[in-house]
Symmetry: D3
Subunit: 304 residues, 6 copies
Amino acid sequence: MAISLAHFGVDSHFVTRLPPNPVGDAALRVLRAEGVGIDAVQRGGERMGIYFVEAGASQRPWSIAYDRAHSAISELDPSSLDWPKLLRDVAWFHTSGITPALGPGPAESTRRAVQAARELGVTVSLDFNYRRMLWSASSAKEVLPSLVRYVDVLFAGEDDLRTFLGIPIPHGALDPASLDLRACETAAARVVSEYGVRQLAITLRENLSASHNGWSALLYDGPSKTLHRGPRHVVHLVDRIGAGDSFVAGLVFAQLDGKPLDQALRFAVAASALKQTIPGDFNRVSVAEVERLGDAEDGGRVRR
Amino acid sequence: MAISLAHFGVDSHFVTRLPPNPVGDAALRVLRAEGVGIDAVQRGGERMGIYFVEAGASQRPWSIAYDRAHSAISELDPSSLDWPKLLRDVAWFHTSGITPALGPGPAESTRRAVQAARELGVTVSLDFNYRRMLWSASSAKEVLPSLVRYVDVLFAGEDDLRTFLGIPIPHGALDPASLDLRACETAAARVVSEYGVRQLAITLRENLSASHNGWSALLYDGPSKTLHRGPRHVVHLVDRIGAGDSFVAGLVFAQLDGKPLDQALRFAVAASALKQTIPGDFNRVSVAEVERLGDAEDGGRVRR
Amino acid sequence: MAISLAHFGVDSHFVTRLPPNPVGDAALRVLRAEGVGIDAVQRGGERMGIYFVEAGASQRPWSIAYDRAHSAISELDPSSLDWPKLLRDVAWFHTSGITPALGPGPAESTRRAVQAARELGVTVSLDFNYRRMLWSASSAKEVLPSLVRYVDVLFAGEDDLRTFLGIPIPHGALDPASLDLRACETAAARVVSEYGVRQLAITLRENLSASHNGWSALLYDGPSKTLHRGPRHVVHLVDRIGAGDSFVAGLVFAQLDGKPLDQALRFAVAASALKQTIPGDFNRVSVAEVERLGDAEDGGRVRR
Amino acid sequence: MAISLAHFGVDSHFVTRLPPNPVGDAALRVLRAEGVGIDAVQRGGERMGIYFVEAGASQRPWSIAYDRAHSAISELDPSSLDWPKLLRDVAWFHTSGITPALGPGPAESTRRAVQAARELGVTVSLDFNYRRMLWSASSAKEVLPSLVRYVDVLFAGEDDLRTFLGIPIPHGALDPASLDLRACETAAARVVSEYGVRQLAITLRENLSASHNGWSALLYDGPSKTLHRGPRHVVHLVDRIGAGDSFVAGLVFAQLDGKPLDQALRFAVAASALKQTIPGDFNRVSVAEVERLGDAEDGGRVRR
Amino acid sequence: MAISLAHFGVDSHFVTRLPPNPVGDAALRVLRAEGVGIDAVQRGGERMGIYFVEAGASQRPWSIAYDRAHSAISELDPSSLDWPKLLRDVAWFHTSGITPALGPGPAESTRRAVQAARELGVTVSLDFNYRRMLWSASSAKEVLPSLVRYVDVLFAGEDDLRTFLGIPIPHGALDPASLDLRACETAAARVVSEYGVRQLAITLRENLSASHNGWSALLYDGPSKTLHRGPRHVVHLVDRIGAGDSFVAGLVFAQLDGKPLDQALRFAVAASALKQTIPGDFNRVSVAEVERLGDAEDGGRVRR
Amino acid sequence: MAISLAHFGVDSHFVTRLPPNPVGDAALRVLRAEGVGIDAVQRGGERMGIYFVEAGASQRPWSIAYDRAHSAISELDPSSLDWPKLLRDVAWFHTSGITPALGPGPAESTRRAVQAARELGVTVSLDFNYRRMLWSASSAKEVLPSLVRYVDVLFAGEDDLRTFLGIPIPHGALDPASLDLRACETAAARVVSEYGVRQLAITLRENLSASHNGWSALLYDGPSKTLHRGPRHVVHLVDRIGAGDSFVAGLVFAQLDGKPLDQALRFAVAASALKQTIPGDFNRVSVAEVERLGDAEDGGRVRR
C-alpha cells in the first residue's frame, strides 16, 4: 500500500515494528528502496513475520504458508506510539483488519490510531481483511465494528458486511458470477447510514483459473448515494498477491489527486490489475502507466 | 507413477536397474526423496538413460531428445529378478509398454512379472505406450498382445487397439475433436471379451496450442459394461511430461481407495490435469489437492 | 534477420560496424555461433548500441529502453564500405529504415548499398521501421522515399505508406480490427506503380493483451496484381521482439527457395509467429519446424 | 549428524518435532532424501525454526541470524516421547546442548532420553554446544552437568570444561595457537574421573581467515588414559556450518565400525574437514571419500 | 564512497547527473536503497555510463570494459549547479580526478565546487584517480594541480605525485615490494609545503595473484609531520572494484568521528579490505563490522 | 585444443563424429561459436558422449562421471574419413590417445590419420592420455607405440614412458615433488632415438590442495638435445578440466608462430595455467593475454 503510493509520487510513511536484527534491517532497506518513509518504524521484538508462497498455475491454486506467530508487530505496546504526533500534517491514514487480529496490543494501537486520526481530521480508511486463521469471528466482531465508526472509506466483502456489520445481504449478491447491483446498493447505503462511513469499496475477483482471473470493483459513495462500477479486466496472473493493497493505494491516490469518483475507481481497478502482472507483492507502476491502461481499456487491447 | 502414488500415501516401490555410478546414485536419491521404496532397485549396467527436453510455448511444440541407448535397464537379465518374491504382499503391479520395447531382456522380464502377478492374484495394469522410435510395430505385435492376457486394467489409445489388438474401430473415433462414444464402447467391449481385461482406460488430449490443452479420459468397465466419461479440464501447460503416468497413478490410487468408478475417473483426470501445471515430471500433489480440484470443477473455477 | 536466414540454411552475412572492445567481440561471437557470416563486419567506433527490455504481461505492456546514442554504426564512414565488392555473388540484400535514421553516414551508406545492389541485379528489400525517437518525420521523408526507388520488396505499415510515400489510404484500413482489404489492394497497387517496387508486405498485429496477440500478414504482388492474405495465429507471447525481422527472413527464404507466393506468405507468418514463442530476439527455428506449423494450422492445434 | 551417518551407511533416525505445515513437510522431505529415518519425527507446534546465513570471505566473517523463537521443538511436551520405546535396539544416542537450551520441555525430554539410554545400555554422546544467545550460563549450569553423568562420549570446548564442569584449565590451553597438550590431558582425566564419561573429544579451529581455517581435534580415552591428536587440515572454507556435527558423525561411525581410536579420530577430522568444502549444512561424503582423504594426508596433497 | 558513508551512519549526498530514462531511474533507486541522499541528483542527458566487468581469478586478471562515452555527467553544464547552495551546512566534500577527465563541463564544475567548498570552510578531499583512457597526461596536468590548491586531504599514487605534482620520488618508492618510507615521507612533506594540502593518503596494493592481494596504506599528516603506516591485510578477493572509494570513505568517516590519525588509518584500511570481500562495488559494512576487524587483526585471524 | 587454437587466431578444424540429433547440433553450435572449423565433422551414430563433473574444493577432489559408452565417435567407420583430403594444406595434426581407446574403428582411423599426415609432411603431435577406464594397458600397448613412430611432438607422462614405450626411468623422477631432471633428460633422449619423435613434452602438476595446484612443464628438444624447463605457476583452480589440451594448444601455436623453444614452453605453461582459472573446459584466452602473464611472471604478481 505505502509502496504503491510512493510510486505514485505520494509522500507515504509506514508505521510498523521490526526486530533489531538483520532480517528487520533487510525489510527496512527494501521499504527505503521503494521510496517509503521509514521514520516511524519502531525497532523491537523477537522476529519478523514471513510467509512462503508457491505460485499456482491453471488448475493448481496459489498456496501460502504463513510464519508470523510472535512477530514483532504482534507484540506492539500501544503506548509506545504517539499517534497524535505521528499523524500531524497527514492527509490520509490507512489500516487493515490484519493488524488488530495480531493481538491485544496491535488492536488497541489501531483503535487509538483511528480515533486520533478522526480527531485531527485525517481521512481514515480500513480494509477489513478478515483472516480466519488469525482470530475467531467472535473476537473480530468485538473489535472491527467499533473501528468502523472512525472510518471514512471502508474496503470490505460480502461476508464482512454480513458477519461483522450485521448488514442483511443475499448470499452471492457480491459474487461476480451472480452480481446483484441493487442488493449491493441497498447494503452499502445501510453501511453508510448505520456506521457513518463515507464510501464503501468492494473488489470483485472471478477465478476463471489459477492463471486467469476476472478483476473489477464497486464503489458506493455515501454523499451522492451513487454506486460506481469499475471496468473489468481479465488478468493473466503473474502474482496475485498484493491485489487488494494496490487497489486501496489506487483509490487513495486518485481521491487525493482530486479525480472524480468514476475515474478514481477506474484508476484503482487498473492499478490493481497491473499489480497482478508484476512478480513480488509490490506495485511499482507509475501514475502514467496506470492511466495508459485506463485509456486503453475502451480499445481492443484488454480482453473482456 | 510410483512417485505420484507415494504422494497419495500409497506404499509404492519401483523395480528398475540403475548403473553403479554417481548418475545412478542421484536417481536413487530422488526416488527416495519423493518417498518411493527403492529396495528392489538393481544396480548394474553401463549407463542410465536420460532425456533432454525443450519446453514448448504457444505454436512451438515441446521437443524431447532421448539418449537412452544401452541404458542399464535395457540390458536387464530376466533371471536376476525374482518376481514371485518381489510381488509378495503387493496389491497392484503396473508396467508400461516402454519396458519390453527396450530389448529382449526387459521384454522377457515383463512377461515373467505379469505372469507371476496374475498367479499371485495381484492386480495388473499395463500402459501400452507404444514408441515407434524404440521398436517396429511388427516387433511390438509379437510381444504386447501376449502381455495383455495377464492384464486387469489396460491403458491404451486408438492406434494401439487397432494395430496391436486387432480391434476394428473407425479412424478418429477416440480423437476428442470427433469423439464417437458408441464406437468406443463397442471397441472396449471387444477388448474385454477377447483379451480378458477388466477395464480399459483412454486419455483424451486436445492440442489447442502448445500452451493450452484440453484434457479428459474415458474408462470402460467390463463387469458392468459401462463407459464412464471424465470431466474435461483446459490446462495451461507448465510441463506436459508425466501426464499419462499421473493419470495411471490417479486411477490406481482411487480404486485401491475403494472409490466408485466415476469418482475414480474424475480423480484420475484431475490428478493428471494438476500434474501438467507442475514443472518436472513428478506429480507431487496430495489426495486433498486432487479432491479440491475435483469438487471445484462444477463451480466457476475451471474453464470448460 | 541474418540469424533467422542462417537457421534456414541460407548463407547469410551481416554488414555492420562494431567497436573494437570486449562488447563488440561478444556480439561477433554470438553472430558466429548462430551461423552468420561475419567477414563484412567492420570494427571501429566508441561503443555498441544496446537496449534494456522489460517483458510485459497481460495488461502490462513490454517496455524497451534504448541506449544506442553514439553507437559505432551511427558513425559509419560511407566510403569505408565497398558495396560493389560486398554484394558480389549475392542473391538478396535487405536493409531497414533504422540504419539511415542513425545519422548521415549510415544514411549515405544505405543509399550506396541499394543503388549498387540494383545495378548488380541483386534483389533489394527494405523494412520501413520508422522510429519517431530516432529522427523526425520530415527528415525521414527526405531519405526513405528515395531509397524505395531501388527496392524490390517493401515492408511497410499504414502510417508509412501515408506519411512517407504519400499514398492515400483510409485511417484504420490496415488495422486488423477494421481491415479493409480493398483499400489495401488499391494502396499497394499505387506503391507498385509509383515507386516501382515488385512486392509490398504488411504485418498485422492485434494486441489482445500484452500476453496474447493475433498475428498475420498481407502480401501484394505487383506483377500478378494479387493481394495474398496469410493465416492468423493467436500467439501466447514469450518474447515479441524480433517478430518483424523473422517475418522478413521467412519471406526472403521462401522466395529464394522458389515457393509460390501464398505458400511463401504462409511460411513467413508461421516463422514469425514461432519467433514470438522463443526467448531472446533470435529466431532459431528450422525450415522443418516452420513447415510443421504451416501444415498444422488447418488442424485443430492453432487457435483461431 | 543423522544425515552424515546415513551417508556413511548407518541406519540413523532423527527425533524432533516439526510443525504440521508445508515448511515442516519440506524439512521432512529433505531428511528422507538424505536417507535419514523419520518415523520418530513428531508433528506439532506453530513453526519451524529457521536461520539466515551470509557466507563470509577472507576478512569478512560468516554471519548467522537465527529465527527460531517459538519453534515446534522448543514447545515439546516431554511426556509425548516414549524414550524406552524409541531407543529399543539402538546402538548409539547422540544429543546436543542446544536442545535443552530451547526450553523446559526439551530440557526435561533430553534428561529422560539420556537416562533411558543409559539404562538400556545405549552408548550416549553429548555435544555441549553452549549458546549464549539461547540461555544464560547459570541456567545452563543447572542442566548440562547433570546430563553429563549419563554420557559416554562428551564433545566440549575449553570454556565448557571450565564454566560448566568446573575443571581447572589454563586459559588458551585448548587454543590451537597456544595448545598445551599436557594441560589438556590433565583436564580430560579429571572429566573422566569426576563425571564418569568414557571419552572426551575437542575440535580445534584456527581462524587463519574467514576463507581459510586450520582444523584438527583431540580425543582423550578414559580407559587407556591416552590423549590422541588428530591430523591438521588447512581448509579453504566453502561452508563452515555443520563442521561440529560432521565431526561427531565421523567419530560415532568410526567407533561403531570398530576402528582403533587413532584411526577413528583421523576419520572424524577428515570427515569434518570435507564437510567444510561442501555447500549447505549436510555432510554428504561417503566412507570411501573420507578414507581417501585420510590416506592422502601423509602425501603431498594436503597443505600443512 | 557516498554509499559506504551512508552505511557508516553519515548523512551523505551524491551530486551527479543521470538521464531521465529507466536506466537513470534504476540508478537512483539503488542510491536511495543504500541510504544516500539524492536531492542533488540532476536529471538530463542522453545516457548513463555503464561498465562491464569480468572477475579475474588466480593468474587471470580482472577485466573491465567501460561504456561511458557521452554519459549524462560528461555533458554537465557547470552553471547548472549552485555549489554554494549545495555545500551549505556540509562538513566534507569529496571528489575524484575522474570527473574533470570526462570533459570541460565536469572539469569546470569540479573547479567551482572545490573553490566554493574552500570558501565555505568545508573540508575538501580529492582522489587523483588518473585514468589514461579518459584523458592525456598533458590535459590532466593542466587541470589536476590547480584543483589540489583547494584540497585538504589528497589521495594519490607514486606516478600521480611525480607526473602531475612534479614531486621528485625514486621509482618504486611506493611499491609495496620495495617500499621506501623515508622517500615517501620526504615526498609527502613537499606536497604539503608546495600545495598546501593537510594530509596525503596512499593505498598500497600487492598483486600476489588475481585472487589474493596484499592491502595496506600510508597517511602523511602535514601539521604533525608524521607518516602513519596502516596494518597489512592479505585479502582473498571477492570483488576488488571499489577498494579505493571505500578507503576514502573509511578515512573521511574516521576523521569526522574524531578518531586519532593512526586509528583512522587502521579503520580505513580495514574498511577497504572488507569491501574487497563483498560482491558488487558497494561497501555495505557497518562501523561495528570494521572495528571488529580492526581489533581482530592483532589476533590470529588475519593472515600477515 | 581446437578451440584454444581458434582463440589464438589459428585456422583450426575439428574432425569428429556427432549424432544427427539436437545434442549433436548443440555441440556443433558451440564449436562454431568458438571459431572452430566444422566442415570435417561427420554426422552419424546413436549418441554423443557426455560427462558430469562436480567441482572439488580444498580437501574434496574434483569428480567426473563419464557417460560415453556407445558414443558416435566410438563407432566411427575408418573408411568414412579420407585423411589425405582432410589433411591437404594443413600445417599441424594433433590427436590424443583417447581416440584409439574408444574402439577398433577410431584406433584404425587414428593410425591412418598419422600415417597420412607423415606422408604429407604435416607435423604430427600426440597426447598419450592413457585412460585405465577406457582400455587395458595391454590393449593400449598394442596400439600406442605403433602410433608414436609417426609422431613429431609427443606429450606423455612418467607412467606412459615406462609402460608403453619401455623407457627405463626411476619412479618419481617426473613427480614435481622429487623431480630428477637428469633422469628426465636421459629418458627423453631415448624416446627421441628409439621412436624418432622430435620433441617430448611433459606437464607437471602438484596437488597442493583441490583448490591450489602447482603447474609447470618440461620440453625436451631432440635436434638440440636440450631439456627446457618452464616457469611454475601456483594456480587457484577455477576449473582444472582442459589443462592438458590448452597446454598442447599453447605449444602448437607458439611453434607455428616461430617462437624459440624456451619462449614456446613459457607460453604453453602460461596458457594452460590461465585455462585453469576459467570455468568450463574451453580456453578462451588470447595470445595477448597469455603473453601478459608470461611477462608478469618475473614480477611480483605470480606466487612462486
